[in-house]
C-alpha cells in the first residue's frame, strides 16, 4: 500500500491509501479521517472518507494548502497504527431481484450497455462465470457486505463483499451513464454494490430494488427520525431476497411507519476476518439471526 497525496484545487487535499480496493485501505482511510476529526484543525470544513481514499476540504485563507498537507502527513502514522476493528451493526436489507421497475429502466437505456441484447443480470452472470442470473443472485446475497463509503448522492452506500478476493463479483459500469435510475435500486460497478438512495442518474448495473427507504429529508420514516441518512461507513449489510408480495408488504409498512429494519450490534476485527472469513461471517449472521 502506497499513500499518495494530491491537492484538489486550492481548497481540497485528496489522499489515496491504495490504488486498489481492500479492507486494509478502507480502515486506513477511516482511521485517517477519524484522526483528522479529532485533531480539530482550524479551517477544515469537510472530512470525507471513501473506499480506499479520503478527502479534506479546507479554507486556504485559514490554513495554507501546504500546511494542511503537512498536517495530514503527520496523521498518516497514527492512521497506520490504529486498530483495524470497530463496534458496528449488521443490517438486513430486503431485495426484490429482477423487479419490473429496474427492468423497465435498463431496457430503456440498452444502447448504453455492454450487452444490448440481454439484461444487466444476465450479463453480470455470464462474465462472472455463472450459468444463469439465478446463480449470480445467490452469490450476491450469500455473504454479508461492508459499507466502505457513503456518498455520490444523498446517503448512497457503496458496499464491499466480505469474501476472499478471488470470489469477489466484478462488473463494469455502463458504457455511458444512464440519466435515470429508480429510487432504491441495488446496483453494481467494479467490485462494489450500492443502493441508490434517490432517483437519478447512475452508471452501475441494476439487479433489483429494496423497499427499505434509506434517505428521507422529511424524516418521517420511523427509523430515520434522528437523521435523514441511514447508512454510515463501517455498517455491515446482509441482502435478503424477497418476492413481489413481500416487497409490497414491506413498502406499505415503511409508508405506515411500522417497519423496523432488522439490526444487531456486532464487532468487526479485520485481522480476525482475514484469518477466518467463513467463521467471521457465520458469527455476523448468528448475531443478525438473534436480532
Amino acid at each position: 500500500m502506497k499513500t499518495r497525496y494530491s491537492h484538489g484545487g486550492d481548497e481540497h487535499i485528496f489522499v489515496e491509501m491504495d490504488e486498489e480496493m481492500s479492507l486494509d485501505a478502507f480502515f486506513k482511510s477511516l482511521s485517517m479521517t477519524n484522526a483528522l476529526r479529532e485533531a480539530k484543525i482550524d479551517g477544515v470544513t469537510e472530512i470525507c472518507p471513501a473506499n480506499a481514499s479520503c478527502q479534506v476540504k479546507f479554507d486556504p485563507d485559514v490554513i495554507a494548502p501546504d500546511a494542511m498537507l503537512e498536517e495530514l502527513k503527520k496523521l498518516e502514522d497514527v492512521a497506520e497504527a490504529a486498530e483495524k476493528r470497530m463496534t458496528t451493526r449488521i443490517v438486513e436489507v430486503p431485495v426484490f431481484y429482477q423487479d419490473p421497475w429496474t427492468h423497465e429502466t435498463l431496457m430503456r437505456f440498452r444502447e448504453r450497455h455492454q450487452d444490448p441484447s440481454g439484461t444487466d443480470l444476465d450479463y453480470a452472470a455470464k462474465i462472472n462465470g455463472f450459468d444463469n442470473a439465478e446463480g449470480f443472485i445467490a452469490a450476491h446475497h450469500a455473504n454479508p457486505w461492508f459499507v466502505s463509503m457513503v456518498g455520490f448522492v444523498s446517503g448512497l452506500p457503496f458496499l464491499y463483499q466480505l469474501v476472499e478476493r478471488e470470489r469477489q463479483l466484478q462488473v463494469p459500469k455502463y458504457l455511458r451513464p444512464r440519466t435515470d435510475t429508480p429510487k432504491q435500486t441495488v446496483g453494481y460497478g467494479g467490485c462494489f454494490s450500492c443502493i441508490y438512495s434517490v432517483r437519478g442518474a447512475g452508471g452501475y448495473q441494476m439487479f433489483g430494488i429494496t423497499p427499505m427507504t434509506i434517505f428521507d429529508p422529511k424524516q418521517e420514516v420511523s427509523y430515520l427520525r434522528d437523521f435523514m441518512v441511514f447508512f454510515r461507513p463501517g455498517d455491515i449489510v446482509k441482502f435478503s431476497p424477497i418476492d413481489r408480495d413481500e416487497y409490497d408488504r414491506i413498502l406499505k409498512e415503511v409508508e405506515a411507519g411500522t417497519y423496523t429494519p432488522k439490526i444487531a450490534e456486532v464487532d468487526f476485527d479485520l485481522e480476525a476476518f482475514n484469518a477466518d472469513i467463513a467463521g467471521t461471517n457465520a458469527k455476523l449472521m448468528e448475531a443478525l439471526d438473534g436480532a
Binding site: 494530491s6 491537492h7 484538489g8 484545487g9 486550492d10 481548497e11 481540497h12 485528496f14 491504495d18 490504488e19 486498489e20 480496493m21 481492500s22 470544513t45 469537510e46 472530512i47 470525507c48 472518507p49 471513501a50 473506499n51 480506499a52 481514499s53 479520503c54 478527502q55 476540504k57 486556504p60 485563507d61 495554507a64 494548502p65 501546504d66 463509503m149 457513503v150 456518498g151 455520490f152 448522492v153 444523498s154 446517503g155 448512497l156 457503496f158 464491499y160 478476493r165 469477489q168 466484478q170 463494469p172 459500469k173 458504457l175 455511458r176 451513464p177 460497478g189 467494479g190 467490485c191 462494489f192 438512495s197 434517490v198 437519478g200 452508471g203 434517505f215 429529508p217 422529511k218 441518512v229
Partner: protein, 322 residues
C-alpha cells in the same frame, strides 16, 4: 411580506451560501453558483451576505411583491422591469406593494440573482435554504419555485440607489478562461494529452447544470497504459470510487471533461485530471452552452494569488455598498 411567483422562468431556485459539513454523506454544499453575485445582491438591499435569494438561469421569473420593499438584481445581464419600466441592474431599487418584477432576454452571462430586503425566509434544512432538488432539501418543499408559490420574506431595510461599480462586475471573457491546478489522477494521461488539454479550445456542452458543467470539442485524452487496479472497473478512466473535490475535472472515457460545481456528486469511479481553482468557480456559473472555453494551467501560488484578488474585489464591493 412575500414574493408571489407568477411565472417561474426556466429554472429558478432559492439559494444562499449553502450547507457545508455534509459532503461525507453525499449532500453537497449547494448554494449560489456565482457566489460573488449573490453576496453583492444581498449587500445592495442591506441583507447579510449569506441571505437567501432567487437564482434564475437563462430566463427570469415574473413575480409580485406583496408589500413595499427593496430589490436588487445582479449576476448575468438581463433587462429588469418593474411594472414594465426598465430599472438598472446591480443597483437597489424600491418596489411598491403589488408591483410586478419581470425580465427581458439574457444578454450576457447565464444566471441572475434577485435579492429582496430581509431575504427569502423559507424553512432552512441542515442549516441552509439552498435548493438541492436531487435530495429534496431546502427551496420550496425541496424543489425549484413554481407558479403560484408565495415565498415568505424576512424583515429588512435598505437604501435604494446603492450600486456596484461596473468594473467590479466580473464576467467570463470570450473565450472564457478557467484556471486549473493539475493533480489528482493527472499522471494517468500521457504527456501529449496533458499538453493537448490546455492547448485545445473547448465549448460548454448542453449538459451544464448545478451539478456540473460538461465541455466538448477538444481532443480525446490518451491514457498511460496500466493494468486496472482491483475494484476500479475495466475502463482506463475508472478508479476505485473515491471522493470528488468541488471544481474537479473528471473525464469519463477520456472524451468530455465535466467540472463538478455546487451541487456536485461527492464521489464516484471516474479519474480526475485536476481542479478549477476556487477563484474561477463563480465564472462557470455564468457560462452558457456553446460558449468557447480555454483551460489555463496554473500552480498553487497562482491559485492562491487569484483567490486573494477575488477577495480584494469582494472587499471593494463591500466598500462600495457600505
Amino acid at each position: 411580506m412575500a414574493l408571489e411567483i407568477r411565472k417561474p422562468g426556466l429554472l429558478t431556485t432559492i439559494q444562499d451560501l449553502g450547507r457545508p459539513g455534509y459532503f461525507h454523506l453525499g449532500i453537497p454544499i449547494g448554494g449560489a453558483m456565482d457566489r460573488l453575485s449573490l453576496r453583492a445582491a444581498n449587500r445592495l438591499v442591506g441583507n447579510p451576505e449569506d441571505a437567501a435569494c432567487l437564482e434564475a438561469v437563462f430566463m427570469g421569473p415574473e413575480l409580485v411583491v406583496t408589500e413595499d420593499t427593496l430589490l436588487a438584481v445582479t449576476g448575468g445581464e438581463m433587462p429588469v422591469k418593474l411594472d414594465g419600466a426598465e430599472v438598472p441592474t446591480w443597483t437597489s431599487f424600491a418596489a411598491k406593494k403589488g408591483q410586478v418584477l419581470s425580465f427581458g432576454y439574457l444578454t450576457d452571462g447565464a444566471r441572475i440573482y434577485i435579492a429582496v430586503a430581509g431575504g427569502i425566509a423559507t424553512e432552512p434544512m441542515l442549516g441552509s435554504r439552498a435548493t438541492y432538488a436531487i435530495g429534496a432539501l431546502g427551496g420550496v418543499d425541496g424543489r425549484a419555485v413554481a407558479a403560484g408559490d408565495v415565498l415568505p420574506v424576512g424583515d429588512g431595510a435598505g437604501t435604494p440607489g446603492r450600486t456596484v461599480p461596473e468594473a467590479l462586475r466580473r464576467r467570463p471573457g470570450r473565450p472564457a478562461e478557467l484556471r486549473v491546478l493539475p493533480g489528482l489522477y493527472w499522471h494517468r494521461i500521457t504527456e501529449a494529452s496533458q499538453k493537448a488539454f490546455f492547448d485545445d479550445e473547448w465549448s460548454v456542452a448542453p449538459e451544464a447544470d448545478r451539478m456540473g458543467y460538461r465541455f466538448r470539442g477538444g481532443r480525446p485524452l490518451e491514457f498511460v497504459e496500466r493494468e486496472q487496479p482491483f475494484g476500479a472497473g475495466s475502463d482506463p478512466s475508472n478508479i476505485v470510487d473515491g471522493c470528488y473535490p468541488y471544481g474537479s475535472i473528471q473525464v469519463p472515457g477520456g472524451t468530455e471533461p465535466i467540472v463538478l460545481h455546487r451541487d456536485a456528486v461527492s464521489g464516484g469511479g471516474y479519474f480526475m485530471i485536476g481542479a478549477v481553482i476556487s477563484a474561477d468557480m463563480d465564472l462557470i456559473g455564468q457560462l452558457q452552452p456553446n460558449v468557447p472555453v480555454r483551460f489555463q494551467r496554473v500552480d498553487m501560488d497562482a491559485a492562491l494569488k487569484a483567490r486573494a484578488e477575488r477577495t480584494a474585489v469582494l472587499d471593494e464591493i463591500r466598500a462600495a455598498t457600505a
